[in-house]
Structures are given as C-alpha cells and as structure tokens.
Symmetry: C2
C-alpha cells in the first residue's frame, strides 16, 4: 500500500491527509450504530488515508490510482449523514470534498449559483442571502452538511413543501465517476435529451461517483413570511386538514404536523393532551402569502382545527436545529434514532399506527412518536423518533437493529416508501429489495456494475 500512498501523494501534495487524527476524524458519518462502540471506548478504525483533492481533475487522478491498486474509496462530505453511508475500514481511502469549496460561478440575473461540492450548507445559503437570494434548502443538518452531500443523498429541507426537495433545486452538476471519468451535466433549465443522468448521482450516495460541483437554480428571498398554527383533536384529523389544503393547491413552505406525543412534548402549554399541533409558514410574495394564510386558516378551522398562538411557530423556528448528540444520549443509556418514511394520504394513518406499534413492541423501547414534515398532493412523510433504554450496554446494538427492523417491516407491510430523505446507507440496505422490487434491484445492480465495474466506490452502501 505504500506504493498507493506514494502515488496519491504525488497527485495531491498536502491534500493527502495521513495523520491519525485527520484519518479518525473522517472515518465515519453520524450513524448512531457506528457511534455505539466508539462511545463504549472502542477505537475508531481509520482509513488508510484521506484524499482531499482541489479539483475534479485531481480527484479523477486519485480514483484512477485507487483502481490501479484495487483499493476501495469512501466519498465523504460533511459527515452529517445518519444512515451509515460513510464508514471506512483500514484498507480503504476516504475521498473528501473538503477542499472543493466556495462559490465558483454566479449570475443573479439567471438565479444560478455554482458551488464546490464541499461547501458547507449554511455558508452557501448565507452567501446567497448576501445577494438577496436563497437556495431554499434548509435541512436540520445545514450547519454541518455540504452541498454535495445534499445532492448525493437526495436530501429534503424544512421548507420543502413550497421550495421542493434537492432534486428540484439542482440545475446542473459535475461528478467524478467510479471509473475516473468526469461527468458534467448540460447547464439548461430543462431537457428532453434521454434519461436525466443527473438522477444517477442524486441519491447515488457515492456508490457511482463523487459529486464535485453543484449549480443551483436559486430564488429571491421570499418577500414575506406569515406564520400560523392550529391544533387538532388527533393526528389523523391534522393529516386530513393537511391533505385538504394541499389538494386545494396551497403550498406553505413549512407544513409540519406533530402527533399527540410530540405535541405534548413541545407545546404542552398550548393544547390539550393528545391534540396534534400543525405549524405553518407561508413564504413568497406578500400578496400570495396573505391569501394563502387566509385560505389555509379557513380549511383548518372547517376541519375543527383550533388556532394556536403564533409564538408556537416562532419557538419552532428558534429551536428547530437543536438536537442532542448521540454521545449525550448514549451517556444516559439511551439508544435512539429517527426514521423517515413516506406514503399516500390513505396509508398514512395505518402507517403511523403500524410503525408506532412495531417500535413499542421492541424490548427496551421507551418512546416512539412521529411528525409529518414534507407534504405532497398525493401524500406526505412521517418522521418517527424512537428511544430505547436497553438493560445493558451489550444490548445497545441489537436493540438498535431490532427497532429499525421493526419499523422497516411494518412500513413495508403497509406498502409505504421506506426512505423519505435520509437515504439508505447501510441501515436500510437490506430492505432495498422490498423498496425497489426484484426488477428495480436488478436494474440498480446493472447500473452499479456498468458505472463502477471494479466495485470500488463506496462498497457496502445502498446495494444489498
């Protein structure tokens, strides 16, 4: 392997990171399961080396060198993923986008902004805000994640119901494919020119290549924002109101419905126990948000929704990205995770109950709840939170696996989509046959083999 390291050093210079601290810091993402042994004192397994190229061309040379040395490559952005999409071992090399950063091209007239894939999400958004613009993508991870990671994982942001998901924001992209070639998609607002190949990279989770540059179709910062909240007798009643307002053609940027448990946890002074809180933020031209807020209010009230104080929404905005670290939870003996699933409106109440019941039946689970945070004409997501307090640390991993299995099997039995926006990584990999079907899985394997014939790009992720 020292020959590979020599080759990489020749390509990268000081972009080859070899100290143990540098390698340890980039060996993983933020998967709870990989944190369990580390919190218990096991050492992190560092990769052989971390490659931090400055350009697509450098990265392409790195990929070719790794292929020549039959060495697995693990693409990595901000490391904020929570499904085990980044997990190095001692024989693999991490491909980090950390030196491919910053705004590279920008046209306010065209609302186009090109960023290096390693650009921190919040920095990219703030750069646009300085121009009076916005990318419009606000994942909870925005302070940690990278724009390339957003695209590679098909991420969703908190304002997706109006602004869309990441695939609705990408104008064009550049990637180094698993064979060391460079792909640049055509920069055009829309094309009917064969399959949209960008979609192989969007959601590819680094198994087909590494995204190196992303051009967003950005937008003006919304002229106005109107916040409102309503609570409903139960979660199903809130879902029904959400369905109706989507059906009527309204698109609040934030449309977030908490079940009775989470509503009581967050808003107990604002509603009766068991009621479900719906928080809404309307964004856009002032004339639009005014009529939207009125119309949505009418729909909520005619569905027995009770208006809550606007401060409910303000509180959510203030605390929306505050979450405990896995380490903090593990220190309290808590094994936890979030599991996002999607389904059509008819299935959502069944899905909610099936997953909650399945989670609660797992030994050690002490809390299971959900909210819906991304809505569409034909359905919405559910975002489950589960916490367990296994009797002994030796049970942490098996408990974690058990509640994931329970949730995935329950969701599959209801016919739901098994992954809304966190991706597959390792945690959902064994349910990909269920998700894609036999035909789809065979198609995914064919594509993987075609683009990554050596099987060296992020092995172990996505493809069972």
């Amino acid at each position: 392997m020292s020959k590979l390291l020599d080759d990489l050093a020749a390509i990268l210079g000081d972009g080859l990171l070899q100290t143990e601290a540098e390698r340890n810091a980039r060996a993983r993402d933020t998967w709870m399961r990989s944190q369990i042994p580390v919190s218990a004192g096991s050492p992190v397994v560092p990769p052989l080396a971390v490659c931090a190229p400055s350009s697509s061309e450098e990265l392409a040379a790195v990929v070719r060198a790794c292929i020549a040395h039959d060495t697995a490559m693990i693409p990595r952005g901000g490391g904020s993923g929570v499904v085990g999409g980044v997990l190095a071992n001692a024989d693999s090399v991490v491909l980090s986008t950390e030196r491919m950063t910053g705004l590279r091209a920008f046209s306010s007239t065209d609302l186009l902004a090109t960023f290096g894939a390693g650009t921190n999400g919040l920095e990219a958004e703030q750069r646009m805000q300085a121009e009076g613009l916005s990318i419009g993508h606000w994942p909870q991870s925005i302070e940690l994640s990278t724009v390339g990671g957003w695209v590679a994982t098909r991420a969703s942001g908190q304002y997706s119901t109006f602004f869309g998901n990441i695939e609705d924001m990408v104008y064009s992209l550049q990637a180094v494919l698993a064979d060391g070639s460079i792909y640049r998609s055509r920069a055009t607002p829309r094309a009917s020119a064969g399959p949209d190949l960008r979609h192989l990279l969007m959601g590819g989770e680094g198994t087909l290549g590494v995204i190196t540059e992303v051009t967003f179709s950005v937008r003006q910062q919304p002229e106005s924002e109107v916040r409102q909240a309503f609570h409903f007798g139960d979660f199903d009643a809130g879902l029904e109101a959400a369905r109706k307002l989507m059906r009527a053609g309204w698109r609040p940027a934030v449309l977030r419905l908490y079940d009775g448990r989470e509503s009581w946890r967050h808003f107990r002074e604002r509603l009766p126990k068991g009621n479900a809180m719906l928080i809404l933020a309307h964004m856009g031209p002032a004339a639009l948000t005014a009529v939207e807020a009125d119309a949505v209010s009418t729909i909520c009230e005619s569905n027995d929704g009770v208006a809550a104080a606007d401060e409910v929404v303000d509180g959510w905005f203030e605390h929306r990205n505050t979450v405990p670290t896995w380490d903090e939870l593990l220190a309290q003996g808590i094994v936890a995770d979030t599991i996002e699933i999607a389904a059509d409106w008819t299935r959502l109440p069944k899905l909610y109950r099936a997953v909650i019941d399945a989670l609660e039946a797992v030994e050690g689970v002490v809390a299971a709840s959900a909210h819906s945070s991304h809505a569409y004409r034909s359905g919405a997501n559910l975002y489950f939170t589960v916490a367990a307090t296994p009797a002994v640390p030796e049970d942490y991993t098996s408990t974690y696996d058990a509640f994931w299995s329970a949730a995935m099997n329950a969701a599959a039995s209801v016919g739901a989509g098994l992954a809304h926006h966190h991706g597959v990584g390792r945690v959902r990999r064994d349910w990909m046959r269920e998700e894609l079907g036999i035909g789809g899985l065979s198609m995914l394997r064919s594509v993987k083999k075609a683009i990554d014939p050596h099987g060296l790009m992020n092995p172990g992720v996505l493809v069972p």
Copy 2:
C-alpha cells in the same frame, strides 16, 4: 423468422397484427423527414409484425422471444412523436401499447390515477375531468399521444409553467425492460432510496424498455382561470418581463411569448408590427389567480408592456392544437419543422438571434420564427418554426437536414440545451455528444449496455 412469428402468435393470439395495413400504420411516428419519401410516393417499409400485448407479462414474454430470435424491437405509443423515435424496418417488430389502455386504479382521496400506457392522452384527461380532477398535461399532441409516450419522451404540456413537466406528474410507473424483466417503481410520494430509477425510463425513448403503466399524481381542476395578454416593443423586452415575473415567484400556467414575426402572424390586429405578444393564463384557487394576475400585470406594465384584449388569449386557447399536417405542407412544396431548445435567461436573446440567423442562411428557408412557451426561474425554452421551399423535391431531405444542422450547431455554440421537450429520436442523435459531453455520453452508453445487453431495444434512437 416464421418461427419467431409462431412464437409471438402463441403468446399474443389476436394481439399479433400481421396484415400489411396494420403493419404500415404502425411503422413510423410523425417525423417530417420520414414523411418526405412517403409523400413522394415511396411505399412505407412495414415491420415484420406488430405485437399488441394486453399486459406487462405478455409483453415480457414477447421481449424474451424477440431476444431469442435476435430481433430488434420498436416500442410505439400514439405515433405522434416528431423526432424519428419510431421507425421500423422489415426485420424489426413493433411493440405497440395500444391494448394496454384505460384507468386501472384510482383514488380521488390520494389524487392518484393509474393508466395503461397506451391510453390516449385526451381520454385520460377527460376521465379525470369527469371526477373534477386533471392530469394537467396538455401537449399539443394530446388528441393523438399516449400517456406512456408522454413519459418515454419526457414531454411538456402547454400549462407546464405552473403544473410542471411530465416528470413532475409521474407518481410511479411500470415497464418491461429490454431484458424481458418487469420493473415497478415504488408507489410513494417521494423517496431517498438510491438513484431515482424512474428517470431511466422517463426520456429513455424506448431504448431501455417499454413503459406499460403510469400512475399520475393528479390535481383538482383549477377553481379559477384568469387570462391576460401584453405586448412589448420586441421579443427581448418580453423575455425580460417573463424573467422578472418568474423571479418574483409567480407561476402562470400559460406563459407564452411570441416573437415579432409570430405575433404579427397571429395577432396583427392587436399590436404594432414587430411587437411581441405575451399571453398568460393564471390557474388555481380564485384568491391566488386574482393576486397573481394583478402582480403580473404590474410587472408587465412596469416593463413597458401594453395590455391587449383578453380575446387574444381566448383565440389562442381555441386554435392552440390546430396545425397543418406534413402532407399538406409537402403538397405545397414546403419542408418545415419545429425545433425546441432551452437556455438560461442571459443566453436566450443570443440563442434566438443565432438560431434565426443560422436557419435563414440555409438555402431554401423562407421563414424562421420562435416563441417561448415554458418558463423556469433560471431560463426558458425557445420553440422555433422553420419552413423552406426547396427548388426541387430531390432537395427536400437535404434541406431538412441542413436546417436541423444549422439550428443544432448554432444552439450548441451559444451553450444552450439542445432539446427541451420533443426528445432526441434520430433527428438529434448526432448532437448527443455535444448535449451530454464525453462523460455523459459514455455514461449513457454504459447504462444502455447494462439494461439492453443485446442492443435490440429501439436501435438507432437516442444513442449515437
């Protein structure tokens, strides 16, 4: 080949169409270039047979039989394509979706409707309208095209600026792949579960498989529609107004700007010669269309737009799908076509002039004009119409090829996207390297080889 026909007859029964009339009627799409020899009296070259299976399973058996006999397969929907995506020869078999029709599943609650791929577009839309709903996809070809064809070609409809393009309407789909396997995408409103494999079929133009069933996320019929029109001193001024109203966050379903030539052709009593007419239709909840119409009117007027009578828009709605047939034009000695291209706002004026100049420089061209009919935050399409009157019929095909070459090369030189919504077929195939880049073309070829290892599915289309 009689062994193949025996095998197909055993699978299909009377779904195997073998008369010359049946085969001739399904040998082609509506490509002007393939009409030229036929109008001149050359016989149509019919396929060996037409297979019209009734189910995905039957079609899968047909595909496996064709593979066993090393026979090329030509998928066909309504035959309304205009780029040569369907063109049989005497050794190939046409796979027609004509017997896979009708509404197969429907949920008004979920706004989900599943149609057989061969369902006529207008019939599908009317079926939804009977429920108070709409697919929202209104291509000019709606009376001729099929829902499967819409998806296979990544089509756009006349209301796309609000309702989106076909990829924004598809919820899930089913297809028989080139290897005879059946692919069913997961029915879920949104997924982060690997690459969105539906995108290999959307725009695949039948080169990777045949779409057999499409589920749309439909919508309520708009509660209201407000029409208005404005004319501008020239095309560029109209584009600038369109850019500004998109930037402000408004989304008129119809946003259609004619250049001076087309405006004079269609609306000469309504504007000064040279002015560009913008027609708009706002659709949605009444409260929304009212404020949108007001805001858009303000933007147009502050960009020196002059309000035109609403009847201008009514006239467009009435005549929007009335176009002469190629045969009618050829009978008058006219060779013509439409060429749709897309670019960002900054490039559009340059693109307009470059393509018009290039078309006018082609010997025999007597008219070249354009309108823009699909707008986005970051750009729009241009839809060119070109007509030539070659001196002699022997020059028809070479003139046709010359004006296509001129338009494609001019568009490429400006950095535009070479195909907005008609697809690639045969007419744009030789520009796919330009459109996709070397990396993209190599990726497309890898995918094609992976999904269609025998190279028997719609050969000659899309992939150069």
